[in-house]
Symmetry: D2
Subunit: 319 residues, 4 copies
């Protein structure tokens, strides 16, 4: 596949061309009925090799706690409601049976919750990945490209491109826009090469920025992400999934008409590339730095939501 050039200050026409190239390359690539997109790059063989990456047996969660109080990063947080606490542990009226129960609910998307974007999350001009119409996503659930394509889990080689570490530990700016050249430089610096079937996790230091800001960040002040010139890189390297400690797209972005979030728009809808937003990568980055190794076994079991556009998630890295 040949990808068109994307300049430093991309024009709408350039991204239109990139959209054409990406959708042209991947729509139909795995069959007219395919709804797995770049997950097709991740095969049993890749998983087998990924399992062999475990050397310590250590596990690290890549998710944040499910927030239940509104914050600028998560203005509509999750609901965690006790249905029976210790004070009502006998409320089933069964002698000796004492239990607590609860309810949890959440909006799936946004800038705060660690979640997966299924391929039906994004449309470009009314179409989803593989040419499915927006009308497939109905008010009572999506009919195609749903989170159920992940139902048997996402297990494979995780690669961490920690841009802070690659940058000599200098923190990225709040609204940094990371280019393809910087990703490639990070590969060299960190000693890892992104390849077919990888689950690529890009760390911009958001957690460190939040900690430095006293525990709260405001996305209105910017969120680091990748430049649209990285989209051809994701396509050429044939990654299976893209995750980030942000939402992959920078905020406020580059101001390109009709392409506010190119990675979401062209990546998800064009390439069929699922995203994982708002990963917690700080602990993983520390461990990878200590070990001098930026690859690991990535495991994720998504909730089986029929008709869902994504799900809250807690991916686990096994090192």
């Amino acid at each position: 596949m040949t990808m068109p050039a994307v300049s430093a200050q991309p024009t709408e026409a350039e991204l239109d061309a990139l959209w054409d190239a990406c959708s042209g390359a991947n729509w139909g690539r795995w069959g007219a009925d395919d709804d797995r997109g770049t997950l097709n790059h991740l095969t049993d063989e890749h998983r087998l090799r990924a399992a062999a990456l475990v050397v310590d047996g250590v596990t690290i969660s890549l998710a944040h706690n499910l927030g239940v109080d509104p914050t600028p990063e998560c203005p509509v947080p999750a609901q965690h409601h006790m249905l029976a606490a210790g004070d009502s542990r006998d409320n089933m009226n069964i002698p000796g049976y004492e239990a607590s129960r609860d309810y949890v609910g959440t909006q799936v998307h946004g800038l705060g919750i660690t979640h997966v974007d299924a391929l039906c999350h994004m449309f470009v001009r009314g179409e989803m990945y593989n040419g499915r119409p927006a009308s497939d996503v109905r008010s009572d659930g999506a009919r195609s490209n749903t989170i159920m394509t992940f139902a048997d889990g996402v297990v494979g080689r995780g690669v961490l491109l920690d841009l802070v570490a690659a940058n000599g530990r200098a923190p990225l700016a709040d609204a940094a826009v990371v280019t393809r050249a910087e990703l490639e430089a990070a590969e060299r610096t960190l000693g890892v090469e992104v390849g077919t079937g990888d689950i690529l996790c890009i760390a911009t230091g958001r957690d460190a920025r939040r900690a430095a800001a006293g525990g709260a960040l405001n996305p209105a002040h910017g969120m680091a992400g990748v430049h649209p010139d990285c989209i051809p890189y994701f396509a050429e390297r044939e990654i299976a999934v893209l995750g980030s400690d942000g939402i992959s797209d920078p905020m406020p972005g580059l101001g390109i008409t009709n392409w506010i979030f190119p990675v979401h728009q062209i990546g998800i809808a064009g390439l069929g590339l699922p995203l994982i937003d708002n990963l917690h990568l700080g602990r993983l980055a520390a461990r990878c730095a200590d070990a001098g190794r930026y690859e690991f076994l990535f495991t994720l079991g998504t909730l089986r939501i029929v008709g869902g556009t994504g799900c809250p998630a807690n991916p686990i890295a096994v090192l």
Copy 2:
């Protein structure tokens, strides 16, 4: 640890003694502040060995779809609500940005949803695992023994004891009560030995029974589970987690006063043994039978619910 005898028709006094033995053995075993219980049996070394079990790179989900329509097995199902479907994909009013969004919520426990029981889910006489009082589980969330003890995931050796396969493929009765002797016989027949740190999954053929019943089962007609004489077995083998295609405890059970669900009561609160209820084990069982191998890499990333008593889950077996 020496466990008291549990007879075929157990008395309340026998289970009182079993409770005393189990809580006596494990409360304080890993420190007065411990809230991980038998997860302490699962070490980095076990995980490292478990990763080496992957031979094909195949993944199999061990969860059911999150039900959204009431059934006898799941009378209070999950909620999956679209917030913006294809018809409202432009409702953020950002030119070119077209997205769908949804909400998912669910009660955590019950007889239908595949979920984890954290150690604060059960009490015996007002106490949880490690002697924590029921008052730690407050109406605004639990203060100890929560699902957050699983936050870095449950990854280790999964062992499937498929009682149907062990039984010559003869289906178990709806309300079958499986004894320790039967578990031990299954180990021999299937060629696997349950040991320290294992995530033990017991298949009673519930999925096959449901399919045979036309797609719906009624728990009021019984649900297969294990006899309380298996509790000493779980303790002696030092398993880390117990899962089942039912809820481990049989229904309606053995009619022992004050001990309706002994595995929940004595297992969770006494031993500190987390449960995973309502696993979908049918596909895994078929694969294990084909491969003649009943061990695998088990991976689970639980939702990070602060104060939670459990969570809906999709554990992934990697074979």
Copy 3:
């Protein structure tokens, strides 16, 4: 307006003709932009007269408790979740401030919850009242004919047609289908005449049937309602709102192709007649019988849900 005949066993063609007549009569009647339908019949003058009906100052709720446990009448009940109970009354961490808080949520429609059907609840061949397209009801909320048309309340003359009282207190059958002739006979027997702007409440004795059945009814066994030949009666009498202790339409109904619930379909979408389903009319009926008077001040303040298709409700009768 002249309404076509509806025979005892109506044909699809007869109901097609009734649909044409009703939508022909009321679409456009109050302007092309109207979304209040028959609420236009209820004027300040009617309200003023209705207020004068109060003679005792007694109030009676016309709603059922919001069910939170699944039943055959309400398989998807409401959610009532405490957020902070007495045990956590101090969880705002403000000295001396001790409070409890809760959450309530519910599906709006169905066979159990007392609720209002706004005019966007029903469509016939893709159209709502006043010719609005189904596409006005979007996945992020309805754009026309919403519950907000009731925002200033429904206050007016309530008339109770208690068919059990009119019938010499003989209970109606579970699946009784009440005809126009029976409504008119009830008017004569009870000494009340239904007229312009009335909120008509039709009691079929459902609460008494439930009580006689031990507290639970199964709608699959039938639910009493009115024959489609009552629709011309509702139109000619110019009622403003129709309520019932059932859902106005009988179940399983008359088996007419494409017209399973004619009152919902032709009444709501054709006439623009809002419904109130599942009223609790037993206590009101007893009081009306004692007083020998079947009219009262009806008051209802609907929740102000922008984009809503209805709302749970507790109408209050003042006598």
Copy 4:
């Protein structure tokens, strides 16, 4: 009943004494089992007289739209989720049946939603109205003093004390604290006298302040309310219910240790006086000013939530 003095800058001891006087006066006043508190002041006779206040037949909603987007006034807004919109109107698979359905849920309390505070909402030193213990409010619902005490509605004489109108239309400051003397002056200016059984609505001009602020207010900048010296006034006048366009208590308040919200604490828990918070009084005030009359028929049908601490509400004034 004799009420102690409350000075302009009240001390903790003064409010302790006021608490003693209020709870001393009203606990037990209507029986040891009473859970209606000052609703007992509102009798059939009062309602009968209130119905006679209707002179125009006009209705005015006293509620705000249920907010669904987070704002400083309502950081945890309601949820309004479509379950089936126009695009899925056929999803019941019944020929000809085309319907939309939705779900609505909300936290009950807070600074934004128009809602009722039931008597179990507040505690003082672990006790509720009439000496009920906080432990009656359990994690699976309250056992006493619940919103069900309002189940047959709140219908009676509404009196509007519009402090802006009484003040020569000069707007109150954001954090104004209104004294008893000002309430009594408003009575004289507006020509209305608050008396037994009244539903007293106090307007501080919050809606006008919000409009002047461009549509949004921030309660952190203050919210007008009444001085605790009004509590004896509420007791002596024997009002049944107190409503306000704020939350009755001013914010940030007077800084009295342990008594941050005296009207909530002493009014609800001591007197048994239910509150209605966040009323929309702007339209009512305009109408009352035009008519030169500040009394009306107040009607409210609360949701029948068993075990509830309050409910979202839309009270309707009939003039």
